[in-house]
């Protein structure tokens, strides 16, 4: 009796998992985080792809594992997601103990489908182990601080020249791009080539400096846009008090001129002051000296060196330095001149 054999073909969807990047380079001896993108295509009639964990392996040798769940919702047969993978030092040490400088990170995805489920697919990232100089350009540490080396400082209202610093530790070489930001407002964009040297310190701009016209708390950040950051961006905080900063404006010394030679006789020193100042303090120092050898108050814009002082404290042929400080009615130091030099002939 003839037998009718019916062959039925059932289409089984086959997926494709690609990783981005597919090859990464990491520095030995330094725990590193990398962002890995998974792209799944070609799985028809499936709604989800799940992976319970990833594995670091060199051939058949398992160097370590990552026990995090990754899920990719699928639509129209495809889907994508990213995972931040932390590569621990132990994995690198195990690879070195096996005398290999490259291994793989593998993550296998299984599917949830309405019809016959395709076999699991594995996404693979090739990881090359290298020295810090030869690896991909990446940021490994950020520290934000002020002049007190801390991420917090308290300053007076309208205090000028407040600056922040960021220590950036990096591996590899490349173009660093980012910007300084305070309270959400950009102060300065930064483009700078970094060559492997492990760390660099950047300063916030001098003009405009960090604003201090509003009392209260302010937040400073250095935002890195390239290389793509894998670290959370730290913040530094400064608090502006309601007490005003007494700005010291420059006092201009007019006579004697800087580096001039003058006769050994009672000399009149002159300067141009500011309206705020009511009292001036002149200070005279010896070359290389830190403390004044003589000082004098004046209410005018000049001072004549008395003869007894000249004879007792100053010598012919010697060079001296002088400067003027100004004080307002509340005895706040509101002005200061640079140091000028003169020599008694």
């Amino acid at each position: 009796m003839p037998v009718l054999i019916v062959l039925t073909f059932v289409q089984i969807a086959e997926g494709l998992v690609t990783t981005s990047p597919s090859v990464i380079s990491i520095p030995r001896g330094l725990q590193t985080a990398r962002s890995i993108g998974y792209n799944i295509t070609g799985v028809i009639d499936c709604t989800q792809a799940n992976s319970t964990g990833g594995v670091f392996a060199s051939g058949p040798n398992v160097l370590g594992s990552v026990n995090t769940f990754v899920s990719i919702p699928l639509s129209g047969g495809s889907g994508r997601t990213t995972e931040t993978v932390v590569l621990p030092i132990r994995v690198m040490k195990k690879a070195e103990s096996l005398r290999v400088n490259s291994f793989q990170y593998r993550r296998t995805f299984s599917y949830t489908c309405g019809r016959p489920v395709p076999p699991p697919e594995t996404g693979i990232v090739q990881i090359a182990l290298s020295g810090e100089a030869a690896t991909e350009f990446g940021i490994t540490r950020l520290q934000l601080y002020f002049e007190n080396r801390r991420a917090e400082i308290t300053v007076k209202r309208n205090q000028p020249a407040l600056r922040a610093f960021v220590d950036i530790r990096y591996v590899g070489s490349g173009l660093l791009q980012g910007f300084w930001e305070v309270d959400g407002r950009i102060l300065q964009n930064v483009n700078r080539h970094l060559v492997y040297g492990r760390s660099v310190t950047l300063e916030s701009p001098e003009i405009p400096s960090l604003p201090t016209f509003a009392a209260g708390t302010h937040v400073v950040r250095f935002v890195i846009t390239s290389p793509p950051p894998t670290l959370p961006l730290p913040e530094a905080i400064y608090f502006v008090t309601a007490e005003e900063f007494r700005e010291r404006l420059a006092i201009r010394l007019t006579h004697p001129e800087n580096r001039s030679e003058v006769n050994y006789s009672p000399l009149t020193f002159q300067w141009k002051g500011r309206d705020r100042e009511v009292v001036y303090l002149l200070e005279f120092l010896e070359e290389g000296g830190e403390k004044p050898i003589f000082s004098a108050y004046s209410k005018n814009l000049d001072y004549s060196l008395p003869a007894p002082v000249l004879k007792n404290l100053f010598s012919q042929g010697k060079t001296y330095l002088w400067r003027v400080k100004g004080f307002d009615a509340e005895n706040n130091n509101t002005g200061e001149s640079p140091l000028f030099q003169f020599t008694f002939k």
Partner: protein, 654 residues
Amino acid sequence: MKINLIFRVIYWSILFFPLYSFPGHVFAKSDITTGPPIKLLHPAEGTVVIAKKPLIKCSIPISFDPKRLLVLLDGTDISALLKIHSEGFDYKPIADLPPGHHSVSVTVFTPDGQEIKQEFTFSTRHSKPFEEAYSNNQITTLYEKLIDKSEEVQNAPSWKTESNLASESKLKEKNWELMFRTNVRHFDQQLRAIPPQEKGFGVANYLFQGKYSGSRFNFLGELGDVTINETANTVQALARRGGDLVFQSKDLHLQLRTFAVKSEQLMGFNGGLGIGTTPADHLMGFSGDVGLFSDRLKFKTIYARGGEEGNSFGISTSEGAREGDVLGFLITSDFFKQKLITEAEIDISRFDGDTSDEFSREKDKAYRVKAGGTLGKFNYEGLYEYMGRDYEVIGNPGLQKNREGFGLKGGGDFKNHLINLSVSRYHDNVKKEDLFPVVYTSQGTLDYTFKKYQSLPMGISYQRTMMRSENEPLNIAHIRTDTDTIMGRINYVKMPWNVGLTGSYSHQNDRTEAANDTTAITFTFASSVILERPSISISPGFTFNRSISHLTDVRTDVYTTTLDLRGDLFDKRLTYGFGGTYTISKSSDGSSSQDTVGSNFNLLYLLANNLGGFFSPSVGIRGFCNRTNNRIHDQTVNEFAFFLVIQTKMAFSF
């Protein structure tokens, strides 16, 4: 003969008449003459006065030329500040006198030109129990109430209060000194606080110091936010909360120090005092310095151990928990008054980069030798250093391990010119492991400054860096990268103007097949003008940034314009401030084109100044306006918020 003798007696009597006619008279060094004594009426001579600004009264019971009266207080001429009257003068110090001994020197000239000089001494203390005692305190309080905001602004609270107490106090008695400095803060708002801010009270920072300064030894104890600085390869520039003790012996030229700080950076009460001995989250150590030949030769030893657990306030890192210790030895010498200064350091570390794994600490070493000095106008320095493959230190995260090489620097400071030149060559993979390449980095820098015109300094610098790899394993790409950077700067500084122009061009040439070349160009114009009348400070600035990726042939330009201004009107009754930034950014491949505006402002009116002697309230308005226009996606986002501000400052000192 008798007549000659009589004439001689008369002659010498006249000559020495002043000596025996006015017993107890004090002479000036030259042209001194006799007269009734100048008297210090207050304070009484030789007494101890309890006052910060004691009134000084002097009587001068002879005719004198007030214009030529010369009075020195502790070597400072105070003649211009005296209240002179016919019988003498009064003086009230304008600044607190430091506690201790003081001298008053009075020189008067009589109408006929004779000079009389007298000196007095007295002592002051700030209070009876303590020779110096003060506490200066400032409280800032502000309250903000939201007036209006745009819908897009999500994180503006409807109200907020902040207060800060800034306090500095000091007690001093003889050799002992206690000092306390702190900022205590209170914060509250309608919304949840975003860390590191916390609602309630917190200590933003504090430092307590106790000192003993003696003739033979000094002692310092610190508790709070301290900074630890030891050597270049061990603990350096570490600012943390904790404590340290320092003992110095002047006779032995010896210093001993011990410290214990919290590894993470703290703000607020979290972490308590910071002192502890758990190595996982503290850093502790001790060091000893001894100097020989008047400190021209110094030896230092340091031992430190501790651990760090990852991120903390202001610090973000990819590394996990790590722990280690280090032992270091440093010798420095300066026998030739800075003409030749030498330094040699050797250190041994044991470090575990991941305490959660099964691998134990790695031991390694580092050493460096440096010599340099200043010879007149010239300076020079040579450095050789070796950092082992696994050499790491908890208190010094910027250290570069696995590196060896040398650097040479030299420069000259001439009348109008300043020149500096440096070259260096380093390589990594110090153990020459065949699993990894060896990368050689050579760098040369030349910097020149023209400083003939004090108000117009200008300069130019050039740097070239070359990286080359050797002994690459098969699967590691070859490295061949050259980076050239040229930078110019010019400033005009003449009050009230400060104008600066800088430009830089940097090209990184990837000479491998990857050809991943990049170029960065920056021009910056920055200026500020500070005027007194009207009282205003204006700081406009402009920056152009261009980055080029030659591999993809994409150019990205960013134009940034900033304007900051602040000032006051009506004798500081009204104060204002504004800060704004306008940025345009676009890429040549059309992937991004955006302009953003960010601005904030503050306007305050002072209601009363020093009400009751200490209270100064103000009322005003604060706000911000931001706008982002994304031309690629044709999206515009506008954000604004305005707040009513009531703030006050209170100052009290005792």
